[in-house]
Amino acid sequence: MSGGDLVRTTLYDAHVERGGNLVDFHGFELPIWYTSMMDEHLNTRENAGLFDVSHMGFFRFSGENVREWLDGVGTQKASLIKPGRCAYSHFLDDNGIIIDDMIFSVASRQDILDSGCTDWESSSEIAILGVPNASMIDHMWNHFHAHIDEGITIENLSDDTSILALQGPKSPAIIETVLGSDNVVRHFHGQAIVENSLGVTGWIQGTGYTGERGFEIFVPNSQVRTLWDALLDEGGHGICPVGLGARDTLRMEKGFLLSGQDFCHPDLGGSENLARDSAETFVPFGLNLDHDFIGKARVEATKAQHLDGGGIKWLGLKVTGKGPFPRMGHTVLKDGVQIGTITSGGPSPSLGMVGIGLAYLEGVEVGEEVEIAVNPRRNLSAVVVRPPFI
């Protein structure tokens, strides 16, 4: 978005009423925190936190062989994912550079009908429900259509769908209290929301961006306020609303990539440091080389470099002393020579505010000591680690 009015999610009034500190986030007016990022972070790890992630997109892909079609455009082998299961994938350009990442679930035709879509026009037996990143909705729409096969349909349900993420160890108990035990889906499973006392319909899946047990719930905009209030007011178990600030520190501790921050396509203004392939991100899921997909050659080349003990890997840095924190753009040095640049960093609330960072590094192994140049007067000592940090 450029220069236009900020978009408010359906829950805007609810955020104001609950004391949310609202900021411009990729053109959406969303809460960065309610009480404190640190408290919200720790409460999500210990109890549960509720996030409004309605700015994220929601695409429904359908048609005969829709999974086989997705095989060809994504790094994940979607045809292996059965109805009722979720998976993660990258989408690359012809040269192997990541355009975006996405969580998707595979649904049966009956699942779609049960999720409240009784007038679905498609005759497809399978649908894929995908969640593109907020700022990437238009780009991914265009990218998918540039590689569309005959018979594949993509519906953009983003504007009509609100998305809540309930995250944390107490999430299953909260879902049981508010939506009933039949809606407590397992980790990386998904289903149509089963009939419940709130009358909420839609889709629920056992996914999230915090590394905790949790759920992402997709409902029509008209129902989201009911669900939001019920979860916070009747869910119990220490649930609190959480802003986007803690969402970022929570995902950083788990080493989850943030689109636009840890990778960004050059056509979208990304720097050279952020033009990466899936193997370089070194994320241990979402990549299956047992099928052909757009951009595969570069991924294979990077994999081969790794096997030879070289190549670039996105790794963690854990600061060993007290001081300022690693931040995006800081240079990482080994023996005085630059070996990478920080893409994400800051204090880790779950580690007692130890400084953590993530960077594409070359020529260094896990366990080695490096330095991070945080300002002209100071280099921090840090150890290279494989994420997650906790």
Binding site: W33, S36, G245, P324, R327, P347, V374, R377
Partner: protein
């Protein structure tokens, strides 16, 4: 509403200044600490004894998500930095006006009159 004591002077960059026998004692305002929320580090970018230019930066304050520079309101010489804040940066959240960051011997004490008073700062931040 944030706390804005009448006895202090202020800058548009949210510093407070208390004059103490020609020395400007500098910190960040209650409004600033509230906006930053959890303050997790103070980094000094100058040393005691350094001379500093008006509107130069001498320190930065880090919250969970951000790093903000702290500016020198008036030219002078740094006579003291509050290193205790590095052991307890949260003190600024707890008591912004009791947590000084630097003491600066001003080159021109009279220049203080050009800074905002409490009413001017309150107007600036919309209170």
């Amino acid at each position: 509403m944030s706390d804005i004591p009448d006895s202090l002077r202020y800058t548009a960059e949210h510093e407070w200044i208390r004059m103490d026998e020609g020395v400007a004692v500098v910190g960040i305002t209650d409004h600033a600490q509230d906006a930053l929320t959890d303050i997790v580090w103070i980094e000094f970018l100058a040393d005691e004894g350094d001379t500093v230019e008006e509107n130069g930066t001498f320190a930065s304050v880090e919250s969970v998500k951000s790093v903000s520079d702290i500016y020198v309101p008036l030219a002078g010489t740094i006579v003291a930095l509050n290193h205790d804040l590095q052991d307890a940066p949260e003190a600024i959240n707890e008591d912004a006006y009791g947590s000084w960051i630097a003491k600066i011997e001003l080159a021109d004490v009279g220049a203080v009159d050009g800074l905002l008073d409490a009413a001017g700062y309150a107007a600036l931040i919309g209170e």
